[in-house]
Symmetry: D2
Subunit: 146 residues, 4 copies
């Protein structure tokens, strides 16, 4: 059983719109913040990976908005790597306000060489660091043929 | 033949990140800006719809990042309603830098009553206003059976 | 002796610009965040004051930028009320990265009635709550005549 | 007589807060946007100056908030260089909604070498380009003694 990594943050006044709720684009920023914190816990400061010559660019984002969150609400953002490919990573995101699922989403990142900007394999230490936080990735491949 | 509504904007310095490119979440804001401008051209000021008792909330956003855009770039954001349901609308978005497709995405909005916050049908004037900008919606339903 | 209230936060990637440093306008947002947290500690949730019919609007902001801060830096934002007038409050802000003073600033807020939007006196519980965090305000008024 | 450079922009939904007005920090971003446009008209694209080895950093910002602006409002941001020193420039900013003065402010920028990050004199073409947009700077020094 994997337990999702969770980062807690408080909604800022500037992140809310005239409807009084978190402006929709800001959840994508929340995903980014949570990913930085997963990095810190699982691998180390994100800047260290960049200094070592690797970076990530976002290839795809998907967000479903299920309930509103408001100024001063405390949100729990959980994040689970669901696919660690050769050069790309997919992560699932859930934002909760207490028991309420506020947002569900997914991001796909591609690893690139910081100098050339070209795709590169996921660095070994990143892969090793993320595996304990991922869903049973081996299971994807090892499903017995029918 | 439908021609997409297009809104042009210039990338602001504050919208770019240390990689020197538009931060990924900002494209979702660009979608929102373009939708406001489609409203102005097709229906009228967005605030007029709110004053008349209807508003929209975002239910889903999807973004694919295909090429980078940078500070001071001029982007063309085209937007096409692809589904006008009873209470919900889906729009397709494309962001171009000259001929280059930078981002492709989709949003789904649900119409709500401003007082109750509950779902409500798309207002008639909104539907009539958007139809000329939409892909051939009737075609979806009228495709002959094979 | 007054000890300043301090709120700690970590610089987000989206808050940094292509120079690799926190974009200048974001420090004004940091001031706002720190003020919300001073409220929580000194008085209670900011929303409670609004529910009781009082709100604040910003009348003036001043920021001096002394040193850069970067992605993932941990900043300490200290805030000291320097004037509690009848309807207005002035606060001094300092943002530090370790021992380095990154930004120094000041904000002036005016209290308003949430319904009318008109100026109103600082609520009593707000004044009582803030006084222990303020510089010696009494001193201003009680200076003996020469 | 100098006529101020003015840049017009429309308030975005995401720039407004739960009070329904432009969040205070966003005016500092508006100043930055207007300055980029003054550059384009007076000197050329800002990126050209950076490519030539010079950049600016903000040293000080001051904002006075006089009236609210709301979603979809069209604002005129006028900007006047009030001091062109050896390595620093001061500009005055005014934001208007029709005839109403919404915000009045000031920024001070310091010119730096892009490689070393150290102060450098204002490039000659920048000085020549800005002078026609400035208040009568010579007048400051040449005022006759009483």
């Amino acid at each position: 059983m994997t337990e999702a990594f969770t980062h807690r943050l408080r909604v800022r006044y500037s992140e809310c719109d005239p409807q009084g709720v978190v402006f929709n684009a800001n959840y994508v920023t929340y995903f980014d913040i949570a990913l930085t914190e997963l990095w810190r816990e699982a691998i180390g400061p994100y800047a260290d990976m960049m200094a070592a010559g690797a970076d990530m660019v976002v290839a795809e984002t998907r967000v479903r908005y299920l309930a509103p969150a408001r100024f001063d609400d405390v949100l729990d953002i959980s994040i689970v790597p669901t696919r660690l490919g050769n050069t790309a990573m997919t992560t699932g995101m859930e934002v909760r306000l207490g028991e309420t699922l506020v947002v569900e989403g997914e991001m796909r990142h591609v690893f690139v060489d910081t100098r050339s900007g070209l795709k590169r394999p996921i660095p070994d230490d990143v892969r090793r660091g993320l595996e304990p936080y991922a869903v049973d990735l081996a299971g994807e491949a090892s499903a017995p043929a029918p």
